[in-house]
Symmetry: C2
Subunit: 305 residues, 2 copies
């Protein structure tokens, strides 16, 4: 078995992988000086996200373990031989914590306080009437996956009333386009954690943003394409909604001239939501755990449809 | 009955108070041009925090409803005639939310991200290994009052293991000085929400700060005197602990030359923890609710010992 390792590992993570992988040969992409696709083309297994084209052109590849939850670049492949597994559920705890952190930052003024500290400026009591509580908020979550359920768990402690929009999940409360619009108009906090598909692109468009309460906050920890970014920036600049927490944006890195940089009441968490110290090592562990059924010719975990 | 209103109310709040107070005469301190103590000295009831001296010198005052939870300025009065009630429990929800917001800000990098947004600087994936999760943390809460219990409720959703230090509360796990030191050495997050007394001043001193794990965070939402601020600033500057969330400080406003302003990984929330839009109106409601038993000569709520 030859394994192509496209995910970037540090020396400890490489050592851990090699110690636990048995006799298989491993090629680390970051150690190749030239033509990585040539080396890749001889491998049966790949760990890490490689260009779609490589998958399509490969004749040897049997299994691709992605280093992400999102698999939209690999949908509807003509190469039907390759099994692809993703990291379903892997990021739910850190992403949900980042989302709640962002919401609380806006409500409790933490982002503003961070700027005041740099300026050594004391505002104190004068800030208090501008603060709000998350307690008891009406929260609408778009997408009823692992992140959504983790969010519900955290937000329930704040006595939030949490409901889900999801087209094909019977545990959701809202399914249709009309139900979504009505739910948006009633929510205090709207959190997007949907995968990308043709139907989710700009699902939150100008019209739906206009339905939001002026006191409501919109959060996106799914895919940047969910929200019409030009329309959202305008709402934020006009203060016609109360704020936004954006872990994902249509382009990343966010271009320097993008209006989001200048929007008030906006937290740009720069796609760090899934991050934590042991993140990459834990990804290696997921790969190793899935390698066992692969070797034994048993069903793999988290195969994408 | 003559009521002296020392708490600063806006016109709506004054109107609400007057509409609900019946025939009593109300004197608003902020409408007096001169000598407020003279007007105060004729009143039987006071709403809001006035100088200790006024209480001591008053012959007419029967009841003082404080606008705070803290009552340390009014302890051991020689004037034993006055009943004093505080706002026990009033701030527990917003303060607990601010504390969790501050902890999550440090762990999920939100305070740093706020500064990057101002600079329009994208760091993105490079930040991820520096982030941490609150999930599963060992949290030690000093003080087992309303704020402590609200914190336990919120933190339990993050699967934190929460324990309490409190000298005289049987529901706490740690009571003695030795137990406190041991618990500090084991905690990932230490949250102070103790009232001020001779025993709590600098309870968190240099020695106890030195026992903290290098990865631990200290939070103070009680009284600024709890922590030796010079010692804490040094630990933060040396990065020998992971951070601090300080809603209260020994002096407020924090003097411009105080080292806290320059400490890394430090959130200064400027005593805004209890704040929210309807805060003052809700205080008026608490006063009005306590006015009924006062009028009926029944026991008042939240009398201080």
């Amino acid at each position: 078995m030859k394994i192509f390792c496209a995910i970037k590992l540090n020396s400890n993570e490489k050592e851990f992988l090699l110690k636990n992988i048995g006799n298989s040969e491993v090629i680390f992409q970051d150690e190749l000086a030239i033509d990585p696709q040539k080396y890749f083309s001889n491998c049966n297994v790949c760990f890490g996200n490689i260009p779609r084209k490589w998958v399509e052109e490969s004749t040897q590849l049997n299994w691709l373990q992605l280093e992400s939850v999102g698999y939209d670049p690999y949908m509807d492949l003509t190469n039907r031989k390759v099994k692809i597994s993703n990291l379903k559920g892997f990021f739910s705890i850190p992403v949900a914590e980042s989302a709640v952190s962002g919401i609380l930052s806006l409500m409790r003024g933490m982002n503003e306080l961070a700027l005041l500290k740099v300026k050594k400026e004391w505002v104190g009591a004068a800030m208090r009437p501008s603060l709000r509580m998350l307690e008891g908020s009406n929260v609408l979550i778009l997408g009823a996956g692992a992140i959504g359920y983790q969010l519900k768990k955290l937000l329930s402690a704040f006595n939030c009333v949490v409901s889900f929009y999801a087209k094909f999940n019977t545990e959701a409360q809202y399914f249709s386009s009309e139900e979504l619009s009505k739910a948006i108009s009633e929510a205090d906090v709207i959190i997007g954690c949907l995968p990308e598909s043709l139907e989710t692109i700009h699902l939150i468009n100008e019209e739906r943003l206009s339905l939001m309460k002026p006191t409501a906050i919109v959060v996106n920890v799914g895919r940047g394409s969910l929200i019409d970014d030009a329309a959202l920036a305008q709402k934020l600049i006009d203060c016609s909604i109360a704020g936004a927490v954006l872990d994902v944006t249509p382009k990343e890195p966010l271009p320097e001239d993008h209006p989001f940089w200048n929007c008030p009441n906006t937290i740009l968490s720069q796609h760090t939501g899934g991050g934590y110290e042991e993140e990459v090592l834990d990804k290696v562990k997921v790969f190793l755990k899935n390698l066992q059924p692969y070797i034994n010719n048993e069903p793999l975990n988290n195969l994408i449809p």
